[in-house]
Symmetry: C2
Subunit: 189 residues, 2 copies
DNA sequence: CTGATTTCTTAAGATACCTTAATTATTGGG
DNA sequence: CCCAATAATTAAGGTATCTTAAGAAATCAG
């Protein structure tokens, strides 16, 4: 798993073996069975959470009691609740494993210590955050302009095996359409 | 204007007078008349752009020749084309002043030099980017779930004077509804 | 101040997507 | 392997939002 982190980091900033070792030694690894919760409403999301393996969904329950899926999280993606993490306020969302999932996490406190100890880490996370921002912004800018069908196709293109890994009604929730309508869309290719 | 930057920076990270001076001396200020373009498709967005005063829109032209507004930019907001900036690829969008607008900008090259000279700056931009990510993500997550009317109300809440500053058809484009329908929505309060 | 241009409104018919409810298909635990 | 629970489909009728087209209102340049 250290190798995975090393590889991921080096996509953004070249790191020496030693630096990765140092950082990695402060990461906490945790495994969750399918359906287990990584975060529940009311908890403060105190750590950055990196998915090493598996699949998660982030969702909340709306006024009418419906689950609203905000994001799927896959390998090599950060899935913390950004708002809860930054503002140190209780989260409103669930993060749930949809497959057996292994994460690597680091608390905010520890990370801030490490930013001082390994200044390059500050750079790394600036760059990672910039890239995440770019990806999220791009995704939503286009999602907003797309029809349901186009959003579905776009999701499949981004995560081709998502239909094998996630029940269809969750994909519908994520795309903000009803399961019935998604079913109808799929019927006419 | 230096005072404005100082104030903005200190919202995120405490800076000494001297450090702000140093950074500020590398910023380039530019003014644009209403309707002038800050960026056009084909150009690479080589600078981070901060709006000191005024109002801009970012938009692109879709397949059918329609303008699609992605963002409005107001005072104390960064409005660069993130993807073009990060990947150093030609932008697909226009950024246009909707009022007489003054920006402060800094090239990527200069900024990277300054990250080394003033390490605290790296931290500042990590934090700014984190906050921007949080804001953008939150905005879109909710926009996706909202009706047209709710999106309109949400925009007004965020930028109360937007209706005075921007023609209604641009607001409609931003909210991804037709001007006709926005007009109808406004009619029934 | 005035005509030209831009912006906003109105209304009728069309379409994308939703709601409800019932039926069928699939999956997982014992 | 089977039953219970979960997930997916179908269809009918409804609503939000779009399209088109025309006219009214506001703004801008000279």
């Amino acid at each position: 798993m250290k190798e995975q982190i090393r590889h991921y980091f080096n996509r953004y900033v070249p790191f020496e073996e030693k630096e990765v070792d140092h950082f990695y030694s402060h990461l906490v690894s945790k495994s969750f069975k399918k359906h287990a919760y990584l975060l529940r409403p009311g908890q403060v999301c105190t750590s950055k959470i990196f998915i090493a393996k598996g699949l998660t969904r982030s969702f909340y329950i709306d006024d009418k009691g419906n689950e609203k899926i905000l994001q799927f999280g896959i390998e090599n993606w950060w899935i913390s609740d950004t708002e809860s993490f930054i503002k140190r306020i209780p989260s409103k969302q669930f993060i749930q494993a949809l497959e057996d999932t292994t994460i690597l996490m680091i608390t905010r406190e520890k990370l801030e210590e490490l930013y001082v100890a390994i200044p390059k880490l500050e750079r790394l996370f600036r760059i990672i955050t910039e890239h995440t921002l770019m990806a999220i912004q791009r995704k939503y800018e286009f999602y907003m302009k797309m029809s349901s069908k186009e959003r579905y196709e776009s999701l499949i293109k981004g995560i081709p095996d998502i239909t094998q890994r996630v029940p269809q009604y969750m994909i519908a929730s994520y795309l903000e359409i009803t399961p019935e309508y998604l079913s109808a869309l799929r019927k006419n290719d």
